[in-house]
């Protein structure tokens, strides 16, 4: 019998028991949809994180005081006090291919304006940060190298901090705010980077010279990190090992001693952060895949029922000359049609759900061709796998016994 006829007969048989078919396919639909949505959310999260890391700047190597943590931006002040601004100067002075080297030191602080106040992340950096992160100002200018040298009490606000303190879109340059009870002059406002997908809002921040932070706010001599940017053609791995060697020497670490700092390249940070979301994606997709198997068992069940219900039909087909393979093909194709139809609907449902999640919850999602292809493939494979047993059962029937079946 031709494949076309086999498919036609299968579709017809399925339509005859439309409700049962729909309920059976539901398992498949939900399974496939779940896979699509989970992978879409996972992929979206990964893309968002990659974007966020890219927004930190290009060709970045981060040095962090202590032996752990993500980076200077998150670290705050640690217990380790060996990393200093002089280390940053030495790196710039002694290593080839360094474009920028900015010390970093952070604290959370209440910023008090005339009528309002706002708690935000205050970051101490050098004047190079504005170049390093290619982050232009909306009003005024970033603080200068002279401000850094003088430990001047100047502040550059992120757009969210500005909105909160001075009203949305306002230009507060020249205004005065208090940080740690000391007066600071607002010299600039940065352009908005936009709502970050995960993690903290990049615009909810304020920058002051790291020297000011050291002397006037915290009273320390160390910094919590150094952000380096290498020239475009410099391999980051090599830069990282050179920085490590230099700092070990400067910190006078013996061979047996472990680093009292941590060097990470942008590439490493990306994979570190995305590996979490990747693990999550695999986990969720795995759970979703289990529902695919449940869907498959549903298909096997309805196919077994179908074979039993249609025993006489099978007997008749055998009696008029159907071969075993004809009967096998008929039921196998039926199972595959069922699972593929379920898979197709599941892809639509999953795509729609992913879209809704994006639109309603502002989560980034990405329905990828590979997840769609994989789902379709898995659906077909499920049909074959779970349809094979019932189909073989049908094909092995004895014509007369099947015809006699009540």
């Amino acid at each position: 019998m031709s494949l076309f006829m086999t498919v036609r007969i299968a579709i017809r048989a399925l339509r005859r028991n439309a409700l049962g078919t729909a309920l059976t396919a539901l398992g498949m639909i939900i399974g496939v949809a779940a896979v699509i949505v989970m992978v879409a959310i996972g992929t979206g999260a990964r893309t968002a994180i990659e974007q966020q890391i890219r927004s930190v700047g290009s060709n970045i190597v981060m040095v962090n005081a202590g032996a752990g943590g993500f980076g200077p931006v998150r670290q705050g002040q640690g217990a380790v006090t060996t990393l200093t601004p002089e280390d940053a100067g030495a790196i710039r002075g002694q290593l080839e291919g360094i474009r920028y080297a900015s010390p970093a030191l952070n604290t959370r602080s209440q910023i008090v304006a005339e009528t309002t106040n706002w708690n935000t992340q205050v970051q101490g950096t050098s004047d190079e940060l504005v170049e390093l992160r290619s982050w232009p100002v909306q009003f005024g200018s970033f603080f200068s190298a002279a401000d850094v040298r003088a430990a001047a009490k100047v502040v550059v606000l992120g757009s969210v901090a500005r909105d909160q303190l001075f009203g949305a879109g306002a230009d507060p340059t020249g205004a005065s705010v208090r940080i740690h009870n000391q007066p600071f002059r607002v010299v600039g406002v940065l352009t908005s980077k936009g709502q970050a997908a995960f993690g903290q809002d990049q615009d909810d921040t304020a920058f002051i010279p790291f020297t000011t932070m050291q002397k006037r706010l915290l009273g320390v001599r160390h910094v919590s990190g150094i952000i380096l940017s290498a020239e475009d053609d410099v391999p980051l791995d090599r830069m990282a090992s050179e920085v490590t060697a230099l700092l070990r020497q400067r910190h006078q670490l013996a061979d047996a001693e472990v680093d009292d700092f941590m060097v990470r390249t942008q590439t490493e940070m990306t994979s570190m952060l995305t590996s979490t979301t990747d693990t999550m994606t695999y986990l969720l997709a795995g759970i979703a895949a289990v529902s695919l198997i449940v869907g498959g068992i549903g298909i096997m069940n309805i196919m077994l029922v179908s074979v039993t219900e249609r025993t006489r039909e099978i007997g008749l087909r055998l009696a008029v000359g159907a071969r075993d393979v004809d009967v096998l093909a008929q039921f196998l194709v039926e199972a595959i049609v069922l699972s593929l139809a379920g898979g197709a609907l599941g892809i639509l449902l999953g795509g729609g759900t992913a879209y809704a999640v994006s639109a309603l919850m502002h989560w980034p999602t990405a329905v990828t061709a590979s997840s769609v292809g994989m789902s379709a493939g898995v659906a077909a494979a499920t049909g074959v796998f779970f349809g094979l047993y019932p189909a073989r059962k049908a094909a092995a029937l004895h014509p007369i016994e099947a015809l006699r079946y009540e």
Binding site: A319, G321, A322, I400, L403
Partner: protein, 253 residues
């Protein structure tokens, strides 16, 4: 009757159903030779092995022992696959219970054997099925479903299905068992016409003597053996009887 080579040649055919504890010897050694264009009626009491024998003739089941040669082929020893081919191309089978596919049109029911006949295109399939339906007088019922047809009409659809792949041998197990007298005669009329006009070989099971007399030869079974095998001396003619019945009905009206 000498000269023509037999279509069916059965020797010492036995069939034992193994039911675990007991064994039912349904056939205890049947010998039978049927020549082309014969119309054999099998009779015998219930349980005498007629259906069992028909299933063996129809290659729907395998004998326990003995030989069965159909058109020169030793079909008793064929595998499942070639056996399916023999069923498809050589044999048409009509069942007592019609065995039509429900919710499927008469035409599609008749097409069924052609689906498994190899290279028969959709158009040819439809044409041949329509032809077969016409041959049993149901040209105008092709798109009816079985539940929209009378018993006689359903049995005629089943006959059309048995004929559609132009078999050499038509087997019918009590085809009139579920039909009233008049419809039975009509069905026998179709069989007689096929037998006489086309030389189709027919083996038919019936427990009614009148039905048996439409054939050319009556083989009686008892306890799984052939008890008697006699030619029909005064063969009944179904078509003439139908005309007479129609005439009587007209006169009564």
């Amino acid at each position: 009757m000498t000269g023509a080579s037999p279509l069916i040649s059965v020797r010492e055919l036995t069939k034992t159903y193994d039911l675990g504890e007991t064994q039912v010897k349904a056939l205890r050694g049947v010998d039978l030779v049927v020549l082309p264009a014969e119309f054999v009626a099998l009779t015998g009491p219930s349980g005498s092995g007629k259906s069992t024998f028909m299933h063996l003739l129809g290659c729907l089941d395998r004998p326990t022992g003995g030989d069965y040669t159909l058109a020169g082929v030793d079909v008793a020893r064929l595998d499942r696959r070639p056996l399916a081919r023999v069923r498809n191309t050589q044999i048409g089978f009509v069942f007592q219970g019609f065995n039509l596919l429900p919710r499927t049109t008469a035409l599609e029911n008749v097409e069924l054997p052609l689906l498994y006949a190899g290279r028969v295109g959709a158009r040819e399939r439809r044409e041949r099925a329509a032809e077969a339906l016409e041959a049993v007088g149901l040209a105008d019922r092709r798109s009816h479903h079985p539940n929209q047809l009378s018993g006689g009409q359903q049995q005629r659809v089943a006959i059309a299905r048995a004929l559609v792949n132009r078999p050499r041998l038509l087997l019918a197990d009590e085809p009139t068992g579920n039909l009233d007298t008049r419809t039975s005669i009509e069905v026998m009329g179709i069989f007689q016409r096929l037998n006489e006009a086309q030389g189709l070989t027919i083996v038919l099971v019936t427990h009614e003597t009148d039905i048996a007399e439409y054939g050319t030869r009556i083989v009686a079974f008892r306890d799984g053996r052939v008890r008697s095998d006699l030619p029909v001396r005064r063969r009944r003619a179904a078509i003439a009887e139908i005309e007479r019945l129609a005439g009587e009905a007209d006169a009564a009206a």
